[in-house]
């Protein structure tokens, strides 16, 4: 019995070694798929967006064999730690709380948090008391509201898209979300009656790829690849595909 399991273990070890020597390392990358323009699923079922393009470019530069999979946002860190995938490329902000659960690469873009409300509304970020405010669950926008919007009613949504639906329906006075996500929505048909209100309430929102704690080898490979795509113009090309200004 013991000999048999030893043999099996040896066979696996050999297979593992050979695999590493001959094929590129297989990496699964998790994203949400409901956060346009950063990650979304198009009508044909393809996962697209800025995060996805960056992830693919990083994989090409680091010679990794990557597959992209989707996962609901509020379970994305537990799923990473449960080894459903090896990295998260889903516009995730670096926060102290998340650093306790995962490791981050160097940031690949910088975001801001800014309120959006109807054009006709007199909403101002200085007066949040008594307002009904929406954000996506498990985001820094949600955390910001819970810490700063005292006396306001806070509604948390599974996806950013559902929060926009409710803003359009008039159930919310305003939404707090990433500036560039808001920017894309305001440009869409659904967002034409809405606008940014006030200045961004949070400026230094660094977005990075998350890997499991202690997975230094993957993190270093992605960091090296990020330097490569920043230097050779790949990053700039992807950036220009989505925004007329640099978001790095």
């Amino acid at each position: 019995m013991r000999f048999k399991s030893l043999l099996i273990a040896a066979a696996f070890a050999t297979a593992g070694l050979c695999g590493q020597a001959f094929a590129a390392q297989k990496v699964r990358i998790g994203t949400e798929g409901a956060y346009p323009p950063f990650n979304q699923v198009d009508s044909k079922g393809n996962i697209t967006g800025f995060d996805v393009d960056i992830a693919k470019a990083l994989c090409a530069a680091a010679k990794l064999d990557c597959t992209i999979v989707t996962q609901d946002w509020d379970g994305i860190i537990p799923a990473l730690n449960a080894r459903k995938f090896d990295a998260i490329a889903a516009s995730m902000s670096i926060t102290e709380a998340r650093k306790k659960a995962v490791d981050f690469t160097d940031p690949y873009y910088t975001n801001k948090l800014q309120f959006v409300a109807p054009k006709t509304s007199t909403f101002s970020p200085d007066q949040l008391k008594g307002k009904v405010l929406g954000a996506q669950r498990a985001t820094i926008a949600g955390t910001w509201l819970e810490q700063h919007a005292k006396g306001a009613q806070i509604k948390l949504y599974d996806t950013q898209e559902n929060a926009y639906l409710d803003l359009a329906a008039g159930r919310l006075d305003a939404i707090l979300a990433d500036k560039f996500v808001n920017y894309a929505w305001l440009k869409s048909d659904a967002g034409k009656d809405f606008e940014f209100k006030g200045k961004p309430v949070f400026n230094n929102d660094k977005i990075a790829i998350a890997v499991r704690k202690g997975d230094t080898s993957l993190r270093e490979k992605l960091n090296a690849a990020l330097k490569v795509i920043l230097a050779d113009g790949t990053y700039k090309k992807i950036n220009e595909k989505y925004f007329p200004f640099s978001i790095y």
Partner: protein
């Protein structure tokens, strides 16, 4: 991954507030569904096809589509119409996710209860109805004195099943921003990243609630069927 039981203790009060909302949703939609189900179930078991048709369609729709879809239709669907958004009568209710959940859950469970009631009405022994006719009771008297009381006793076990299914179905209300047990659990997980611990605690809450429900229904059943106890 290590198991942290401390986080369960710390977040349990928050989970309990979620559990209270869950019980409220199930209890109120259970009552609302029951009230709706009686006319639907009775009409559904009518022998006249034109009386039967509308409740048949209602039951067909609500049993044939997922509760989640019905919730989204009520919450996100109705609010797309500006006439509803500007209705002073409807919008104060439809604006509120709590009412939307109650409406969707009540209408959903009403379809199932109506079908349970129809089955129970048809299971009332023919002889008892004939006996009622024989002593000269009118149609409404038979319905009130024989059919409904007998059907309620026959249908009660199936109804308790349906209420427990609604308890589990109520977890879907978390998708329309309600912080009931599941919604609260997901929000806590979003802060702690400890899904195993929190979902276990939430699961234990659901078990406790369903245990209490099963006991209550057993008690009601015993009281209603007390005349049968010695015969068994």
């Amino acid at each position: 991954m290590s198991f942290d039981s401390g986080v369960i203790v710390d977040t349990f009060p928050k989970l309990l507030t979620g559990a209270v909302l869950t019980v409220q949703l199930v209890a109120l939609s259970g009552l609302g569904g029951l009230a709706l189900a009686f006319p639907i179930g009775i009409a559904r078991s009518s022998r006249r096809p034109w009386v039967r048709a509308l409740p048949w369609c209602y039951i067909f729709f609500f049993r044939g589509t997922p509760l989640l879809v019905q919730l989204f239709l009520v919450y996100y669907g109705l609010s797309q119409f500006s006439s509803i958004r500007h209705s002073e009568l409807l919008w104060p209710y439809l604006r509120d996710p709590y009412w939307c959940a109650l409406i969707a859950m009540s209408m959903n469970t009403a379809a199932y209860i109506a079908e349970i009631l129809r089955g129970a009405l048809q299971a009332v022994p023919r002889g008892e109805i004939e006996a009622a006719i024989a002593v000269g009771m009118s149609k409404t008297q038979i319905l009130r004195r024989i059919l409904v009381p007998r059907a309620v006793r026959i249908g009660l076990p199936a109804y308790s099943n349906e209420v427990i299914l609604m308890l589990k179905g109520s977890a879907l209300a978390s998708t329309i921003t309600l912080l009931e047990l599941t919604g609260m659990a997901r929000t806590i997980i979003a802060e702690t990243y400890m899904p195993v611990e929190i979902f276990l605690a939430a699961g234990a809450c659901y078990l406790a609630i369903s245990f209490l429900m099963v006991r209550t229904f057993k008690l009601v059943e015993n009281i209603l069927n007390r005349h049968l106890r010695h015969a068994r």
